[in-house]
């Protein structure tokens, strides 16, 4: 969480002011207060090719922000595999076992009820609830797992400080090279992003 809650979420263009004050940008590079450098695009295709070029240029701590799911973008920044399906599968298996063991234990062990000599372990009758709980647990696992791995809910994040970032949920496409990238150098990153034809490049504070 941020130290001063009174500061507005969207900050004015700090970075350019720093340049106007003739501060050496290389000292900024050491500053722990920088999250990264952000470029803003108008079209998803521009962002996609920008992301590919940034990855090709050796940047690894990258993230892109878009108002809808852009195909191939996650792969372009080097994020290919997600464990959401695995978590969902595990959830489903736990659901199936829970349901079946619960029914078997209660109907055949804990409270055996002899109804005209019919089998106590009557597995066909246990199928519907086993199916339903499999689906229920798998869906809950997919939901909670997705949020958990995404680190949500998270009310504050440095990228919300970027100018015009409100548009990331509406019309614009953003690419951020993060300061914790081993290759990160603020001037190089800035120049590199400028070369990708964005409508705006800005530095994002932590």
């Amino acid at each position: 969480m941020r130290a001063n809650p009174d500061r507005p979420a969207v900050r004015p263009y700090r970075a350019s002011r720093a340049h106007m004050n003739n501060q050496s940008p290389t000292t900024d590079h050491q500053s722990p207060a920088l999250h990264g450098v952000m470029a803003e695009f108008t079209q998803p295709e521009q962002l996609l090719s920008a992301a590919q070029r940034a990855y090709a240029a050796g940047y690894r701590k990258l993230d892109a922000y878009t108002p809808y799911s852009v195909e191939g973008l996650a792969e372009a920044i080097g994020f290919c595999k997600t464990r959401v399906p695995l978590v969902t599968l595990i959830g489903g298996i736990i659901g199936a076992l829970t349901a079946y063991v619960m029914q078997w234990y209660s109907a055949a062990r804990d409270y055996p009820l002899n109804v005209g000599g019919r089998p106590l372990h009557s597995w066909p009758a246990f199928v519907p609830i086993t199916f339903e709980l499999t689906v229920l647990f798998a869906a809950l696992a997919a939901f909670i797992g997705m949020l958990w791995m995404n680190g949500l809910p998270r009310p504050y994040h440095p990228v919300f400080n970027a100018p015009e970032f409100k548009l990331a949920s509406q019309t614009r496409f953003f690419l951020c090279i993060e300061a914790n990238d081993p290759r990160f150098n603020i001037d190089e990153a800035r120049q590199f992003l400028q070369g990708l034809n964005p409508i705006n490049v800005s530095e994002v504070e932590k």
Binding site: S69, H157, Q170
Partner: protein, 451 residues
């Protein structure tokens, strides 16, 4: 056919900005109009009537409904099956059509999912009230109680608890996951601090990161994959409430598929009943086009034919079974005391939908609206006929009786419509009724394809 111009699923000329504006403006900037207020007032009055009828029921007991032995199920189960069937179209649209890459679902899936949730909420009240002592509903659940008892796992009624509970939960998750990116849009567009806070909390801090989108997308597809067999299972389980009993007219293997088809049939009728006024009143004709209405109508026609086939098969099987109780039941349905209800359902569910074969009718919103209403009446009547005619003349003539809904029955049924409509009116005012992020993607793809 080939010379016809393909109706678009979204009007041309939209971009990210205008799509976002058009959908969020309905909630954020549009003032409350008299039309909405009037509709909401009527719905709310009906909801109050529902509360009144339920309060009386709780005070007096379920005898105030016309149910008794042999017709112990009456309106409550009819309403339950009807409402839960209506919900099925929402899941069908959001899950099955997603997996089948039907991109026309994009502009109707959000409110169809909302429809599902509210319909399942209405449905859930009836079996609970029908318990007689709804305050001990938790006896249906497996928990370590002092009585040392467990639910009866071999009973379809217990399967129902799990099926409907799972259905409600999974539908809610699916709807909410789809809403998260749109709630972020609402947060970023809202001007008042209060709305920013509310939408901000609900959006969970969504920032549209590519990694997040990837996991979101995978999770969304998985949820769709899970919801697909679920939607088929729920009405199958509901149908086993009937099918595993030995009552003539119920004890039939055709019930699960026949119920599922009927559910999607009535659900699409409800989708049209909601979509036609919404697109007109909120000027969303560019997003919910004639193509959507036409496609929904064709799904209705197809499932309607399956239902008609179910009726024929039922009749054939009772003749072919050579079982005198089955044959008597079929004749009694057609010509007995409930014959008017039977012929009403045949008219509404078999004859009326045939009008959809005509292009002029299925592209006419007013005509479709009327057909959709008639189908919903027909599908309610169908469940009424299934429940009541089978029970009222059981095997022993000494147990025969005639059932008619009391005024409390009708008040709860009509009141449940008020509950549904109230929730829906509120939904339209507080949440984006169309998925904004999916619409942006669709508009972009259409623009690229056109270029």
């Amino acid at each position: 056919m080939s010379t016809e111009v393909q109706e678009p699923i979204v009007a041309p000329g939209y971009d990210n900005e205008s799509v976002t504006r058009k959908i969020t403006d309905v909630v954020l900037t549009r003032p409350v109009h008299r039309g909405w207020l009037g509709g909401f007032a009527i719905a709310f009055l009906l909801l109050m009537m529902f509360n009144y009828a339920v309060a009386w029921l709780l005070y007096k007991g379920i005898g105030v409904w016309g149910v008794n032995i042999p017709v112990a199920w009456g309106f409550a189960i009819t309403n339950f099956v009807w409402w839960i069937g209506i919900g099925h179209a929402g899941t069908f649209i959001s899950a099955i059509l997603l997996l089948l890459h039907q991109d026309w679902r994009t502009s109707i899936n959000r409110f169809a999912e909302a429809m599902t949730l509210f319909a399942v909420a209405c449905a859930g009240t009836f079996p609970l009230l029908h318990l007689g002592r709804p305050w001990v509903f938790y006896w249906l659940l497996p928990y370590p109680d002092t009585m040392g008892m467990w639910p009866q796992w071999r009973s379809a009624l217990v399967w129902d608890v799990f099926a409907v509970g799972t259905y409600l939960t999974v539908s809610l998750i699916f709807w909410y996951v789809g809403l998260v990116p749109d709630l972020a849009t609402m947060r970023d567009r809202a001007r008042s601090k209060f709305l920013q806070l509310i939408y901000g909390v609900l959006a969970l801090g969504w920032r549209g990161s590519a990694r997040h989108w990837k996991r979101f997308h995978v999770a969304y597809l998985l949820l769709a994959g899970l919801a697909t067999p679920l939607v088929l299972s729920v009405h199958s389980v509901v149908s086993t409430d009937f099918a595993i009993a030995i009552v003539p007219g119920w004890h039939s293997t055709i019930f699960p598929p026949y119920f599922v088809a009927g559910a999607i049939f009535s659900g699409f009728a409800m989708v049209l009943t909601l979509a036609i006024p919404i697109r007109k009143y909120y000027h969303l004709e560019d997003f919910i086009t004639i193509k959507h209405l036409e496609n929904s109508a064709m799904v209705m026609l197809a499932t309607g034919l399956m239902v008609a086939h179910g009726y024929l098969t039922e009749g054939f099987m009772s003749w072919y079974s050579d079982d005198k109780f089955e044959i008597y039941l079929t004749l009694n349905r057609m010509f007995g005391p409930y014959a008017p209800a039977y012929w009403l359902l045949v008219t509404c569910n078999v004859i009326v939908p045939q009008a959809i074969w005509f292009k002029r009718i299925r592209t006419n919103p007013a005509g479709l609206f009327v057909i959709a209403l008639l189908i919903q009446i027909g599908m309610w009547t169908e469940r009424y006929v299934i429940v009541v005619t089978s029970l009222h003349r059981d095997f022993m003539t000494s147990a025969w009786a005639i059932f008619h809904g009391t005024r409390w029955d009708w008040m709860t049924l009509i009141g449940s419509l008020g509950l549904f409509a109230t929730l829906f009116f509120l939904f339209l005012r507080v949440l984006p009724a169309i998925s904004i992020s999916e619409m942006r993607d669709l508009v972009h793809k259409k623009a690229k394809a056109a270029a």
